[in-house]
C-alpha cells in the first residue's frame, strides 16, 4: 500500500518533469528535466524493488544514479567545449 502510493506519486512527478523536458525552451531546461527524471527513475526502481518484495534490485538503482550524474556532466561538457572550427577556446572557463 505504502509503496504503491509512493510509486504513483513518483509517476505523477515524472509526468510533470517530462512536460518540462518536451517544452524546453532552452537545452539547459531539458537537461535539468532529464537529470531530475533520472533521479526519479532511481527512486522508482528502488520503490519497485520493495513493491515486488525483492529489494536486491537496488544494484541497478545505484548504477543509474552514477550514469545519470555522468551523463549530465558529459552533455554539459559539450556546451563548454568550443566548436572545432571556431578556434576559440577560453582556458579560464574550466
Amino acid at each position: 500500500m505504502l509503496f504503491s502510493v509512493i510509486a504513483i506519486a513518483l509517476l505523477v512527478a515524472m509526468l510533470l518533469t517530462l512536460v518540462r523536458a518536451l517544452a524546453g525552451p532552452t537545452a539547459f531546461d531539458r537537461l535539468l528535466a532529464v537529470n531530475s527524471f533520472g533521479t526519479k527513475t532511481v527512486l522508482l526502481i528502488a520503490v519497485a524493488g520493495f513493491l515486488m518484495g525483492r529489494p536486491e534490485f537496488l544494484d541497478i538503482a545505484l548504477s543509474y544514479a552514477l550514469i545519470n550524474f555522468l551523463g549530465t556532466v558529459a552533455v554539459l561538457k559539450y556546451f563548454e567545449l568550443p566548436d572545432p572550427d571556431s578556434g576559440h577556446y577560453a582556458e579560464d572557463d574550466y
Partner: protein, 134 residues
Amino acid sequence: MELLLGVLAWPLAILGMIFLIAGAVGMTRLPDLYTRLHAASVTDTGGTLVIGLVLLLYAVFVYGSAMVAIKLLLIMGFTLFTAPTASHVLAKAALLSGLVPVDGKGEPLLESSEQATQLGRSRPDASSAVQEKR
C-alpha cells in the same frame, strides 16, 4: 513493531511525496531555468533522502538485510553529493552560454547575455585577475 513502522513510515512517505510533487510542479510553473533549478533540487535531494529513509526503515525492520540497507545508504549519500554538483554545473554552464535570469514578471535581471557570461566566469577571489588578463 508493525504499528511503530506505520507511524514512522507514513508521515515520512507523505513528506517525501510532498517534496516530489512540489518540485515537479515548480519545474513546470516557474519562469526560467535558474528558478527551476531550485524546484528540481527540492525533488532531487529532499525527495530522494526522505523516501530513501522510508525504504531504509523497511529494509532494516522488515527485510532485516544489512546489504540492502548499505546499498540504500550508498544511493542516498551519492545523491546528496551529485545532485547539488549537477545543479551547480548546470547553472554555471547556462551562465557561461549567456542565458539571462529573469524576475517574477519576466523582466531580465541583467542587461546583456555578455554580462551573464562574465558573471559565470567570475570567481570570488580571482575575478579581478581574470578581468586583467582579458
